[in-house]
């Protein structure tokens, strides 16, 4: 078996797209994130794995993962890891400033204001408008996911809908009051903010803490996971940020072996022993592991004796399954320039949503989709 590391995310997808377009140099198996699957499905680039007995893997996979890899009876990928989100907060910052863990987003805004009043140099969290993936994950959880798509040529794009606008207004208010910072995600500035108390919490995917504890120093052991704040009190919704699948690329001469491999990779205890280890740190969509008490009781240095996996595993069971549009490569390419003005303060988040809506609708139409916007 040969492995090529074709880079991550956008870089990998454009490379794979180019290879598919060129008709040569395609791999047998490609790792593809959930949000990118429809883009490859619509171009007929992935093998339907239902013909290779993948249906038997369904019972062991989190429903939110399974629904994103299937279209009707067709199975286009084997789910591997997930990125359910939770509020990862600094217990010391919260107690020093007398803050309670917010249960709803309106609590969250009040907590942000209270923190600002206590400590004018602190912000409750970081919100990077330029990072499509975290914004879209939060939008899922807010019940404001801006796309509707169930395959075929009909596509809904709704960045200016009521719930999307409410989401944009909510975060714009916090940005304008400097109650959240807008550092680039995974930048040195963001880690410094998390470590110095300038950010009291992180809206983190399940795979986040493993990397975070390598990038911070002073606050190791102070962090704890709590469910994401909710729109409606009593709900338990979460969003998914990242997570990936393994697909078998059409045209491979080794379809049967490849299908066997992806099934083993995403859905076997042996493979998960490696994947969930301290080095890979992947968060399972594989239920036998996700539900096991040994997994849920695992602790990390960053969160001391608290068991973050309990919170993240619960979040994994309560995710809304998003309908990713088949135009995500273009969306990711254009997102950053469209949202840069929000970080600079030259435009607001609702304005950026409006202009992104316009550019995505015109792109989707130019690609032959019938676009609905209501």
């Amino acid at each position: 078996m040969k492995l090529e590391n074709a880079g991550a995310s956008t870089a990998e997808y454009t490379k794979l797209n180019d290879a598919l377009k060129a008709g040569s140099g395609t791999p047998d198996v490609a790792q593809i994130e959930y949000f990118e699957l429809p883009s490859f499905e619509v171009t007929n680039s992935l093998l339907d794995l239902s013909k290779y007995g993948l249906a038997s893997a369904k019972k062991n996979e989190a429903p939110v993962a399974w629904s994103q890899v299937t279209q009707g009876k067709k199975i286009f990928a084997m789910p591997v890891d997930l990125g359910p989100m939770a509020l990862f907060y600094n217990t010391k910052e919260f107690s020093t400033n007398g803050l309670a863990v917010p249960a709803t987003w309106s609590d969250f805004a009040a907590t942000a204001a209270a923190l600002k009043q206590k400590d004018s140099s602190a912000a409750i969290t970081n919100f990077d408008p330029e990072s499509a993936q975290d914004v879209l994950a939060l939008m899922q959880q807010y019940n404001a996911f801006p796309f509707t798509y169930t395959g075929g040529s009909k596509l809904g794009i709704h960045f200016t809908g009521a719930s999307e606008t409410s989401f944009a207004n909510f975060w714009q208010k916090l940005i304008a009051a400097k109650e959240v910072t807008t550092a680039a995600d995974f930048s040195p500035a963001q880690w410094a903010n998390l470590d110095s108390g300038a950010n009291a919490a992180r809206l983190s995917p399940a795979w986040g803490p493993v990397g975070m504890q390598l990038s911070i120093k002073k606050t190791i052991g102070d962090w704890k996971a709590a469910p994401l704040p909710q729109v409606k009190a009593g709900d338990k919704l979460s969003g998914n940020w990242g997570g990936s699948t393994l697909t078998v690329v059409k045209g491979t001469p080794h379809a049967k072996e490849a299908a066997e491999f992806v099934k083993w990779f995403g859905g076997s205890a042996d493979s998960w022993k490696i994947l969930s280890g301290p080095v890979a740190g992947a968060f399972p969509g594989y239920l036998p592991l996700l539900n096991s008490s040994t997994f849920q009781k695992t602790t990390l240095p960053i969160s001391g004796t608290s068991m973050s996996n309990v919170t993240f595993a619960a979040a994994a069971q309560n995710m809304i399954s998003p309908e990713w549009p088949p135009i995500m490569t273009a969306a990711l390419t254009q997102w950053t320039s469209t949202f840069a003005g929000v970080t600079k303060g030259t435009e607001t988040l609702p304005q950026a949503f409006a202009s992104f809506q316009k550019s995505m609708v015109s792109y989707a139409k130019s690609q032959g989709f019938t676009v609905s916007t209501d």
Binding site: T14, N17, T43, I327, A330, T333, T336, A340, F369
Partner: protein, 300 residues
């Protein structure tokens, strides 16, 4: 045509060795310039869509490019970039070349090599290096600016990103231009300089009044080469975009627009049309520049 056959054959035999020498270059030119250009023109006449496949669309892609404000703002940006970067680079290059040529610097060969070295560093590496050197809050230049009382300077902010790239490109290309001008200066006959010294001309007069006019043809060529390079600006902004995504937009330069449209958004046909438009713009600028210098030459 037996009677006509003879002469061409004889003359072709005479030119044959020349053709052999030119052939590899012509082959490369055909493979890497002509074929891709023809292919790009062909591609630009089609539209490939996720739904509906590939179909002939005539000049539709060109119409889209012509109406794209993103593309034209990129063109405006590289023109502004060229207007600043090219004269500054060449002026600096000439100044250093003249100083080395005057023989007033000890260890001149060593320093000439040092000046040339940035050119040996690939643009990618140079961009990565500079993005660390200029990093706000961490890099030495940000610290330096703070020490000068300029506050927290962000070299990658939307207002400063263009000057920053100009700085990087000047750093990369001054040594190269200097080397060419130095060679030109060296080829000026010694008698000219000696005569001027005998007449009592100062060093300044010799450099500006005698040597500078004699290397004008080299400078014209360099202006042309640098300008074409500037209009194609790609490496530096695309590398900086990886570090500072918010500073470099989708169509920051026309080359980036072509790349992001074709590779980033899968609109290969639109990207091809944009590339052809860019090539035409560069062609027009080049022809214009040549016409201008020729007319000036005739006026003298």
């Amino acid at each position: 045509m037996p009677t006509h056959g003879r002469r061409p054959r004889r003359s072709s035999r005479r030119q044959w060795p020349g053709a052999v020498f030119v052939a590899p270059h012509m082959l490369m030119l055909a493979l890497f310039m002509l074929v891709p250009t023809v292919y790009a023109v062909y591609t630009s006449l089609f539209t490939s869509r996720l739904i509906g496949g590939n179909r002939f669309s005539g000049l539709a892609n060109y119409v889209t490019v012509m109406h794209s404000t993103v593309f034209w703002s990129g063109v405006g940006r590289v023109l502004l970039f060229a207007v600043i970067q090219v004269p500054v680079t060449i002026a600096l290059a000439f100044a250093f070349a003249a100083i080395f040529d005057a023989g007033i610097v000890p260890f001149s060969r060593f320093f000439r090599t040092i000046f040339f070295m940035p050119f040996a560093v690939p643009g990618v590496v140079a961009s990565v290096m500079w993005s660390f050197l200029l990093l706000p809050g961490f890099g030495p230049y940000a610290e330096f600016a703070k020490a000068l009382g300029l506050g927290n300077v962000n070299f990658f902010s939307s207002g400063l990103i263009l000057p920053t790239i100009i700085l990087i490109v000047i750093w990369e290309w001054t040594g190269y231009n200097m080397t060419i001008l130095f060679t030109s200066l060296k080829s000026i006959p010694r008698e000219v300089t000696e005569a001027a010294i005998m007449e009592g001309a100062s060093l300044w007069t010799i450099i500006v009044r005698i040597k500078l006019p004699m290397v004008i043809p080299s400078i014209v060529t360099l202006v042309f080469l640098n300008a074409v390079g500037a209009l194609q600006l790609f490496t530096e902004p695309s590398i900086l975009a990886a570090f500072q995504p918010q500073a470099i937009s989708f169509g920051f330069t026309p080359s980036l627009f072509v790349y992001n449209t074709a590779v980033g958004s899968g609109q290969y046909n639109l990207g091809a049309a944009a590339a052809i438009v860019l090539a035409v713009i560069i062609g027009l600028v080049s022809v214009g520049a040549f016409a201008l210098t020729r007319r000036r030459g005739e006026a003298k």
